[in-house]
């Protein structure tokens, strides 16, 4: 390998240039630098299937005690025991075994018809139209509703949640529907959860929540007991977060990939028995979670290089999934290929516990979409992609039903957008704001309460079970700024910088060294 080639190999999860198509870089990493070290962010990365497999299977050498996301490992983040994705044995084992008895393939399959009905509800009203959005219309709706249903959130509450979200969408008509939409759905689904848990305790049913409340388990200290409220709340947050975002991305990739491969889409329409294989190929080809991380627990050597104890190791699952030594023509999407297991659900003791649900939702969604819309074409001018340290996929994927209209003219590069018309009356800042930060682990809801004292504002922000005062709140024109020193999941200063429009503030939340993440605050 010459040094010029080596120099041009560079990868990190924050490099936006690589988000649309990271695969050529992954191929170079596999072939030229199977152990990659990134100096700027101080992490190692492996990209070959065999290396990733060996790493994921070795839970003693590669620890999850500080999580599976780069930033969390660097911050030596510590989570409550019940956040079992973030633990090693024996803590992990105690909670995982319990959840394994609750999230079973049997339970998932029992709700297949309900999930089909949820798809119909999302898709039926689109029949006869000329466009729809794989994310807004299906991905942001169905997985969230499926998780709510499995948890046993009563239909009337789900309806209330949906209506409130729909109302908000109407007030924002004319603006592109952004992520806040999906985040708000999840946030509202989880709001008032304590109340719901208490209600379910008095009204047991056959849902997951009842089982979480009633099942005995042996805790990490060896005591046989039931879960506490806090533990249930943590587990539900992990399950709901993991089950919404990733399946949403899977549905987006379905829309994009089948649009690009109309011949294979036709094969599936002709023979729906191909759908399970098509879902596996989709999971291999465009994994919603493209990388996982671990902490290295001993000094080791790999591919002739030393890795020190304590290092962060990223496993490029999306690169391993296309490793030519395992998948012939790995960069080709081919639903007819010889079926070999991919790495999208991880491996080893932390393998995705929701995989049976993801596969079921993927299969049913593909069946129900193709039944109604055998052909579509993506409107790339309006599609929006994003990538974080944990997921990569579409925030919006609008398509033309059938094909792109013949007389379609691509919109010209936007002239500087005119400032949105000022609302008739300024929203009052004092009061309650629902804040959602799109963090590396998914949407993080919080509630901001503001009080006015003359011209200045004070207040507090509550999230992750704690409330901390805010500081330096400023409003200059439409620009809003405040600081929140949070203590959970780690001590860190978060600076919010945004713009007020109507009753919504959108902007960036800068969380110290962890980087900036988009946020939305909506006046309650």
């Amino acid at each position: 390998m010459n040094s010029a080639a080596a120099q041009s190999i560079s990868w990190d999860p924050y490099n936006t240039d690589l988000i649309p198509n990271p695969y050529p870089m992954y191929k170079r990493l596999r072939e030229e630098m199977p152990l990659y070290y990134n100096e700027e962010h101080d992490f190692y990365a492996i990209s070959r299937y065999a290396d990733i497999e060996a790493t994921l299977r070795d839970r003693d050498l590669f620890s999850s005690a500080h999580g599976d996301i780069l930033e969390f490992i660097k911050a030596k983040s510590v989570m409550p025991d019940s956040v079992f994705i973030h633990q090693d044995p024996p803590k992990h084992t105690a909670y995982r075994s319990l959840m394994q008895r609750i999230i079973t393939p049997k339970r998932m399959f029992a709700v297949e018809q309900d999930i089909r009905a949820l798809c119909a509800r999302s898709l039926d009203h689109l029949v006869g139209g000329d466009r729809f959005d794989f994310i807004t219309n299906l991905g942001a709706e169905m997985p969230m509703r499926a998780v709510s249903m499995l948890l046993g959130i009563p239909e009337k509450d789900q309806t209330a949640i949906r209506e409130s979200v729909d109302a908000r969408m109407r007030t924002e008509a004319g603006k592109p529907i952004d992520l806040a939409n999906q985040q708000a759905i999840q946030q509202e689904a989880l709001a008032g959860f304590e109340e719901y848990i208490s209600w379910r305790e008095k009204n047991p049913s056959d849902d997951m929540m009842t089982e979480l409340l009633q099942t005995d388990f042996k805790d990490p200290e060896g005591v046989v007991r039931k879960l506490t409220r806090d533990e249930i709340s943590n587990i539900v947050n992990v399950v709901a977060g993991a089950g919404n975002e990733t399946t949403n991305r899977l549905i987006g990739w379905m829309g994009k990939t089948l649009s690009e491969h109309p011949d294979q889409r036709r094969d599936i329409v002709k023979n729906p028995a191909l759908i399970p294989a098509a879902i596996e190929e989709l999971l291999r080809y465009e994994p919603p979670g493209p990388f996982l991380a671990r902490e290295v627990m001993r000094d080791i050597e790999l591919h002739g290089k030393k890795i020190p104890k304590g290092a962060a190791m990223i496993m490029l699952v999306a690169a391993g999934n296309r490793d030519e030594s395992r998948f012939v023509d790995g960069d080709k999407f081919n639903i007819h290929r010889e079926q070999r297991p991919h790495m999208t659900f991880g491996q080893g003791i932390h393998v995705c516990i929701g995989a049976p649900l993801a596969r079921l939702e993927g299969r049913v969604a593909m069946e129900e979409v193709l039944k109604r819309f055998p052909e579509w074409e993506v409107d790339y001018d309006k599609a929006v992609m994003s990538s974080t340290s944990s997921v990569r996929g579409w925030d919006s994927l609008p398509v033309w039903i059938g094909s792109k209209p013949k007389n379609y003219v691509a919109p010209k590069p936007a002239a500087p957008a005119p400032a949105p018309a000022a609302p008739a009356a300024d929203v009052t800042l004092e009061g309650t704001w629902n804040v959602v930060v799109k963090g590396p682990t998914g949407p993080q809801p919080a509630v901001l309460t503001l009080e006015r004292n003359g011209d200045s504002f004070t207040g507090a922000q509550a999230g992750a079970g704690t409330s901390t005062p805010i500081a330096d709140f400023k409003k200059t024109g439409n620009k809003i700024y405040w600081v929140n020193h949070i203590t959970k999941p780690m001590k860190i200063k978060v600076e919010f910088t945004g713009e007020l429009s109507g009753n919504v503030i959108t902007g960036k939340a800068k969380a110290g060294f962890m980087g900036s993440y988009p946020f939305t605050a909506t006046k309650a």
């Binding site: 079973t104 049997k106 393998v351």
Partner: protein, 106 residues
């Protein structure tokens, strides 16, 4: 080398020269036997390596452990001779083992 005969749900047979000491799941994966997935790689955490041990081999193949029992409890299409094949380790005595595979692993 001892042999394992895997029979897919559609009746298709695969005879494999098995490595002693590796699981029946791992032997299937390394020989590209379709119908066994093994998502978790042998950690008894996913139930996607489900197989039916031919009754003639039930004694020799050992019995389910506690963890496996729990996983099978929530799995689909479970029969009395169901095993998670990652928990059955290949030995010389199992030469000729017959494993039938379910219609689907999920």
């Amino acid at each position: 080398m001892p042999k394992i005969l895997y029979i897919e749900h559609n009746g298709k047979e695969h005879v494999v020269d098995a490595d002693v000491g590796k699981s029946v799941m791992q032997n299937a994966l390394e020989n590209l036997v379709p119908g066994i997935i093994g998502d978790c790689g042998g950690a008894c955490s996913c139930a996607t390596c489900h197989g039916y041990i031919d009754p003639a081999w039930e004694g020799k193949a050992g019995s389910r452990n506690e963890n496996e029992e729990m996983m099978l409890d929530g799995a689909l299409r479970v029969e009395p001779n169901s095993r998670l094949t990652c928990q059955v380790i290949m030995t010389q005595e199992l030469d000729g083992l017959v494993v039938r595979l379910p219609e689907s692993q999920f």
